[in-house]
Point group: C2
Chain length 449, copies 2
């Protein structure tokens, strides 16, 4: 992979996550020459599969759900099989005081809490329906909604458990808290993905199916098609741009191009120096995008003992340290595993101490019995500590970012274009959004070449 | 200034604003060898004086007020004179419908509005008194206050004009809106500077006096003392750190050092690559710091015609585009001038079109008569467009940044220390805070050498 860089291509793509791969594939299909510069020694970005015990499991994005047509078609074309996320048996709700079993979508709340939760969800759906995913700033009352945080909305929920469930859902979806997010941005995000329930659910939702052999297999096979257009270990630090010409400088040297597509999360895109500097409005906007934080803990076991107790493995915990737990066995059960998400504040305070997983194991033992304390192996990914992601799953937008800057994350700067799931208008924050954004960026570039 | 860099010094300081200069001066006074790498071709950072017509006037920070002891002593030692900000005559309040004259501190509101404003200020003072400027996260109810924005507080103000005045004050102090700022952070900021009225006022407040010949004169004389320790035109891009050794890489080459002090605003500090990467908690924190936006427009005239009308030149406008206007004549009146602040959203949407100042001139003509349309010259600084500041006057902290990350902007990363007014615990956001932060960073470094 240490072949010399080409001197010149039509399009340089920065980042070989799904957005960068989609950009590169579409540019190449249109006849353009492409180089993809990737900082890591692997493709996939926030999708990352690793051997954990006897199987390759996902330490990053790992699900595909209904309505994610691009990802579905890609997966099929590349011959990667999918299988349903395990959802047989009862789920658990740990409200911080006691743990109860439940079935169905919403945990076993009291009747008033249930009514309140349903009303809140319906109200969110109504608010969401008025917001444009493509151009949230053009929505009715955009400035006022953007001056509120999701916490301002959530304060209407009076039941402690209903609020707690909402917070856990936000932590799982964003790695961030209600107070950090613009309400307008949140509604646009829900709109782009079909609503809060669709984003939260396994069956019929964004967590419906998994990839046999890990989601990175899709990226790996796709990258193989792009061959030596992909350059690994090549962080980009600086883009010098003039009319109709860019020079992209990084660890592996410089490449001249007619266009560049920056396909990394907005806070990292902000760290690539543009010369001349980008416009004030874009800089002010990206300064207001911050990555969520999630630590993904995969705990591999000899046996899927929770299944034997007629538990699905799914837990929602208001106590923590893990807020959400899923069954994460390999498709063939060769490697039984649970997956625990440590989210937002708990993830930010996570340290690299080797016994960090201890409290998570204690927590799993409370839900599933003592066998949970005896894993075969544990694999963790602290995404906020990853230099080339600095958070996961997605960048959230602070209040007033969208409406006070008069621009969007996808507005080009001269010959510099932007992709990445944060720039998507469909399934923002998901692999599907990354694909959509890459296709869109490639269309912009091809039109301009 | 293109002398070769030294190979090695005890301390590299990144940035020659007041924080960097204070760090360098204190390190040198303690016997350490120092190099200050400054991206711009001048020192001073967010303080920047330029010839405007017949005088050198300030396009950046320009005031000194009571209680700013470090800046006062420094100014006296370096022999830079100060003079009172002009505050003789009536002020104007433009409420977006009509413009009225007033005297005193709070504009001529109706009696109920006045009561509301006074109550709100007293309540803020009481809240502020409970918050620690040094460690806001340790204050009572810190997490809850940090989960609120200042807009959540301001919603209690029912009068349109009282709210408008509050918003204008925030825009002038932060270049940002109530909705963008953590309430906890805001209270700590007020605490560090002595309260909202002290920050807003001329007489007895942070705008009390100006510098003869411009505030940059202080930085220039100080830099002259540091001599060739200061290297201009030397942006720093990367800091490689190991135990007890750092190598600072930038435009002008590399320097090895035992310690480095990064003395630039947090969003720009985030853009300097650390190798190995900094800890997750710091990265999550700085991702949640965003610069305010202010365009400073100095309009120079033949005569100070507003003074002839017994107007002080001070205007508070709820209409805009400029939200605040001050008299900004040179101390000797050789160059009469007004100063208009375009703030927050209006500043972010400011473009570089040459006739941008037109609406500001129209606005000044409404307040001061047609003579305001005939300036001698206009000088503007769009601070968000400045590559090495990317906003002004200060970085504001988003909700939950301070309390969810378990760190502070001044916690060192190995041998890498942080200065800059945002890291100050006294007069955060002011020149005085920059000095305090530099002294503190130098103490850390000297202790460690």
């Amino acid at each position: 992979m240490l072949a010399p860089l080409p001197d010149r291509v039509d399009v340089v793509v920065v980042g070989a996550g799904f957005a960068g791969l989609a950009t590169a594939a579409a540019c190449r299909a249109a006849g353009a020459s492409v180089a993809v510069l990737e900082a890591r020694d692997r493709v996939g970005g926030r999708v990352w599969s690793r051997d954990v015990g006897a199987a390759r499991l996902d330490l990053g994005g790992q699900w595909i759900g209904p309505g994610q047509h691009r990802l579905e078609a890609l997966t099929r074309r590349l011959g990667v099989a999918t299988f349903p996320t395990y959802a047989t048996g009862a789920k658990l709700l740990d409200d911080g005081r006691r743990t109860r079993r439940y079935k169905g979508t919403i945990p076993s709340l009291g009747p008033l809490e249930l009514i309140e939760t349903h009303l809140a969800l319906r109200r969110l759906d109504r608010m969401m329906a008025k917001v444009s995913a493509r151009d949230p700033a053009s929505s009715p009352d955009a400035a006022a909604l953007d001056a509120m945080t999701v916490a301002d909305y959530a304060r209407r929920l009076r039941s402690r458990r209903a609020r707690g469930l909402f917070d856990v859902a936000l932590g799982a979806i964003f790695g961030a808290e209600a107070a950090e997010m613009s309400l307008l941005w949140f509604l646009a995000y829900l709109r782009a993905g079909g609503g809060l329930m669709a984003l939260s659910e396994i069956e019929g939702g964004a967590q419906e199916r998994r990839f046999v052999g890990g989601a990175q297999g899709v990226a790996d096979r796709w990258a193989a098609e792009l061959g030596d257009a992909i350059v690994l270990g090549a962080p980009v630090r600086r883009v010098v741009w003039r009319d109709g010409e860019v020079v992209v400088h990084g660890e592996r040297g410089a490449i001249a191009a007619r266009r560049v597509v920056i396909a990394v999360p907005p806070p990292l895109a902000a760290r690539i120096e543009l010369d001349p500097a980008g416009p004030a409005r874009r800089d002010q906007l990206v300064q207001r995008a911050a990555m969520g934080a999630i630590v993904k803990v995969i705990v591999a076991y000899e046996r899927p003992f929770w299944r034997e107790r007629e538990l699905s493995g799914e837990v929602v915990s208001l106590g923590g340290p893990a807020s959400v737990v899923f069954d994460n066995c390999s498709h063939d059960l060769r490697q039984p595993a649970l997956l625990a998400f440590v989210q937002a504040e708990a993830a930010r305070r996570w340290t690299a101490a080797p016994d960090d997983a201890g409290p998570v194991l204690d927590q799993l033992a409370r839900y599933f019995g003592d066998e949970a304390r005896r894993p075969v192996t544990i694999a963790t990914a602290d995404w906020a500590a990853e230099p080339w992601s600095r958070g996961c799953p997605v960048a959230v937008m602070a209040p007033r970012a969208l409406t006070s800057t008069g621009t969007t994350l996808r507005e080009p700067v001269g010959p510099i274009h932007f992709a990445g799931t944060e720039t998507a208008v469909e399934w923002t924050g998901y692999i599907e959004g990354a694909l959509e954004s890459g296709e869109r960026a490639a269309r912009e570039v091809i039109r301009a070449l």
